[in-house]
């Protein structure tokens, strides 16, 4: 068993209304000094050791993200 994390983020050139809403709100809440926020998705998967990196990339690219508008990063993490 391994734990795998996939982070999916809007591509840099793509509008990120969620991140912008957070960024705009922070100063109103009294938090200064945050110049940019982007918001994406964070997946944590429990996978069998049989699942190789290639398969993980396919899952991330073909299903967890839409490559037209999103980038992803896959990491295996130690438990």
């Amino acid at each position: 068993m391994a734990k795998v994390v996939v982070d999916v983020m809007p591509k840099p050139e793509i509008l990120d209304p969620q991140g912008q809403a957070v960024a705009r709100a922070l100063p109103r809440l009294g938090f200064d000094g945050v110049s940019d926020v982007r918001q994406g998705k964070h997946f944590e998967l429990e996978v069998d050791d049989s699942v190789d990196d290639d398969t993980l990339a396919k899952i991330a690219e073909g299903f967890l993200s839409n490559p037209v508008i999103e980038d992803f990063v896959v990491r295996r993490v130690a438990e």
Partner: protein, 227 residues
């Protein structure tokens, strides 16, 4: 003296005109309140209506609860002013800590808009005295993050104190714990619910006029207080 109920508009609020209409149908004056206001214009009660305040992009209600007007609502509510949160308004009241728990993504992950039966479980709150105990009413529900969540201890306490005000009957639309559709504060002055009584004030434009009772109850509460 006629009763006056404030209806808050945040950027992204949608059901403010509906809430104001419902207030007027109950012969109460509707006063519009702006998210940036620092006072409540002397209203006797407040409705926090539905919609997608600030887009609800982070989490429903998460940004709205920091609006200046909400600070005033929190103070007034703690002082006993009747407050009704509908849908996004309920989410905002939970985020603001006026009501316990949280509203999360519907179990089927879809926005759901449908006519929904509710049982009125508590008819002693400021917003429900016009209903018969156990009455079943038909009002629209429409939300994407409407599943009520709280830990077991909180749920038990809510049930024990009679603070579950409305429960879904005939099917739970969103996976709410214990079919909870609406809850109240301990003193019954603050009520939050996901379904939309303001869309059920006329059988022509809604499934029934069952929702009007909530606004008429508020009228009674306010007039009773004045008398």
């Amino acid at each position: 003296m006629t009763a006056r109920i404030g209806v808050i508009t945040f950027p992204g609020t949608l059901d403010d005109i509906d809430a104001a209409r419902a207030v007027k149908y109950a012969d109460i004056e509707a006063v519009s309140l702006w998210h940036g206001d620092h006072d409540l214009k002397g209203v006797d009660a407040v409705v926090v209506p539905g919609g997608f305040s600030y887009g609800d992009y982070l989490r429903a209600g998460a940004i709205a609860r920091f609006a200046p007007v909400m600070a005033k609502v929190v103070d007034a509510a703690r002082g006993g002013m009747p407050v009704l949160g509908i849908c996004n308004g309920f989410q905002i009241l939970c985020e603001a800590g006026l009501l316990p728990g949280a509203l999360v993504r519907n179990h089927k992950l879809h926005f759901v808009c449908r006519d929904q039966w509710l049982r009125v479980e508590n008819t002693s709150t400021a917003w429900t005295t016009r209903y018969e105990p156990g009455a079943e009413i038909l009002v629209p529900v429409k939300n994407g993050e409407g599943a009520y969540m709280a830990d077991e201890a909180t749920l038990d306490a809510l049930e024990g104190d009679g603070r579950v005000v409305f429960r879904y009957v005939g099917g739970n639309p969103n996976g709410s714990r214990r079919d909870i559709a609406g809850i109240s504060s301990r003193d019954g002055r603050i009520v939050g619910l996901m379904p939309h009584p303001e869309h059920a004030i006329d059988a022509l434009t809604g499934p029934s006029d069952d929702g009007l009772g909530m606004f008429l109850s508020a009228l009674d509460a306010l007039q009773g207080a004045a008398a």
